[in-house]
Amino acid sequence: MQNGGASSDQNGSISSVPRDTSRPLTEDELDRYSRQMIVPGMGKEAQLRLINAKVLIIGAGGLGCPAAQYIAGAGIGTIGIADGDTVERSNLHRQVGHSTSRIGQSKVSSLITHLRGLNPLPTYVAHTTHITPLNAADLISQYDLILDCTDNPATRYLISDVCVLLCKPLVSAASVQTSGQIIVLNCPPTPQGQLDGGPYPPCYRCCFKKPPPANAQLSCGEAGILGPVVGLMGVAQAGEAIKILASALHIPTTTTTTTSPPAQGVPRAAPVVEPTLLLYSYSLTSFLSPFTFRALKMAPRKKNCFACGEGSKQRLTLEGVKNGEPNYDFFCGLGGGGPEKGVLSEEERITPREFVERVQGKDGNGKGKKYVVLDTREKEHFSFGSIEGAVNLPFGKLLSKAAQLKRSGETPKVGDILPPEIQVRDGHGDKDIPIYVVCRRGLDSQEAVEKLKEMGLDNGGSRKIVDIAGGMKAWKEQVDPSFPYL
C-alpha cells in the first residue's frame, strides 16, 4: 500500500471499471463526457483517469450532496458515500441530493438514488455508517482521494490523520452560517514524517493545531446555514477533486530522487506545493464585496506537526488510532460531562410548568408587572415568538456588555445591562422585581443568571434572578406544544 500507492492497487473487488488508461471510450462515455473532455488540458487520458479513480465522500449532507453530484457527473468510476444519518425535512434546503419523498431514508441510499439518475455508469458504494476511529482506515484505504464533507472537529482531525497515515490526498471543506472554507491537504500525498527535500503539503493539523473549545463549536442545527454558502464549498470540493485526479496529482510521491520514472507512464511536472485556503464570507446585507472570496497562502507541512511532522511515526499509527490513541473526542473537548449539567442551585431554577402555575398565574403578568422575562436567544429565534412580554437580549451581547462594564471599573446598574423595559420599572420603585431568564435549551440562561448576580444585579439577594430550566425547548414540551421552537 505504501509503495506505489493507488497505482499498485490490486483490489478489484469494489470497482468493476478496469484501471486501464489506454482503452477506447464507449459510445455512452464519449457522448456523456464530451463537453468536459474537450476543455483545454483534459482530453481522453484525463477522462480515463477519472473513470479509473475511486473517490470517498464522507458525509452526505450540505457539502457531500453538491460535491457528489459533480463527482458523479464527471464520471469518477467508483464513488463511495459514508454517512450514518437519515434524511430530515430540515436538511432539504441545502442537501440537494435528497428529496421530500425520501425523508426517513438513509442519506447514503437517498443520495445514491439521486446520483444514479444523473449518471448510471459509476460504481456506487454505500457505507451506511459514521466514520469512527475503528472503521476509518478500512474505509479510506479503499479509495484514491477523500472528500471531508463532515460536520464536526473530532471527525475532521480523525480523517486528516488517517489520510496522512495511508498517504491519501484530502479535499476538506466546512461551512456554517455565512462562512465557508476549503483547502486541499496532503496533496501530492507524502509519506508521514517526510521533511527532507520539502516543502511538502500540510495536513489539517498543520493548519489548525487546536480545535475550538466545545462551547464554541457551532453546528448547522444550532447556528444555522444558508444553502448556497455550503453548496458553493461542496461544488468547489468536487472541482478540486476532479483537477487532482485528471492531472494524476493523487499519486503519492514515494521517493525524493528526481530520476525516478513517472508513475504509470503519466507525464508529471514536479508538483508545486502552494497550499491555499479559500474563504467565502457571505453577507446578507451587502452585495459582492472585497471580503467575499479570499485566497490565503498557507504554510507547508510543519516540522512540529503532531500527525505528519518530525517524529510523528512514533506518535500516530493506524494501530493507535484503532485503539483510541489519540482520543479525538477528548481532544475536541467532548469527553464526559453532558451539556445538560446544571450550574445553579434549586432556588435559582424553575421549570416552565412551575413558572406558568406559580409565577404567571391566571391573570398573567398584567399591568402590575410582577416580574420580567429576559430571553437571551438570538434575535432571529426571538422573532418567531417568546413567553408573553419577554424582552430580548442575546447572550453574546449580554456577555460583551458585562465585559465592557467590568473593564470600565464602574458598578453596573440594571439599566446598563438590561433593555429599557426593565430599566424604567427599576427606576420607579420596583427595584426588586424578579427577573426570569430563558434561552433556547437552558444552558446560556444559567450562565446569564450567574453573570447578572456576579454584577450585583440581585441587589445583595433581595431581587430574585431565576433560570427557566430547559429553555424554550422545555417550554414547548411542557406548556405550549404549538410554540415555533427552532
Binding site: P213, V230, L277
Partner: protein, 99 residues
C-alpha cells in the same frame, strides 16, 4: 481585491466567522507598527475573553499569507521578530467545522 486603506499609522484587521461575532465587527484599524507577538494581548485587552474563545485555535494571516504565531512552545523563535507594519492587512480566521 483588498479592503479599504487603513488610516495613516494603522493596519487593518479582519475578523472572520466567530472572530466577527465575538468582536461585533468585520474589520477595524489598529495602531501600527505592532510586534506580532503582541497582537493577541492587544486584542484581549479590547475584547475580554477573545483569546480563549477565538484566538487560541485560529490561524492568522498578514497580507493574505499564513504566519506562525510566536508561542512559548515554539523552540525556534524565529517568528518573534515579525512586526505588523502600517498599511498591512491582518486576518483572524477561526476554523469552521460544520457542513
Amino acid at each position: 481585491m483588498s479592503a479599504p486603506k487603513p488610516p495613516k499609522g494603522h493596519f487593518n484587521i479582519l475578523y472572520f466567522a466567530t472572530a466577527s461575532s465575538h468582536t461585533g465587527k468585520d474589520m477595524e484599524a489598529l495602531p501600527a507598527p505592532l510586534p506580532l507577538r503582541k497582537l493577541f494581548d492587544t486584542l484581549e485587552e479590547r475584547y475580554q475573553g477573545i483569546r480563549e474563545a477565538v484566538l487560541d485555535h485560529s490561524l492568522v494571516t498578514i497580507n493574505l499569507g499564513y504566519v506562525d504565531m510566536p508561542s512559548s512552545e515554539d523552540e525556534d523563535g524565529e517568528d518573534n521578530v515579525t512586526v505588523i507594519q502600517e498599511g498591512d492587512e491582518v486576518a483572524i480566521i477561526p476554523p469552521v467545522s460544520s457542513g
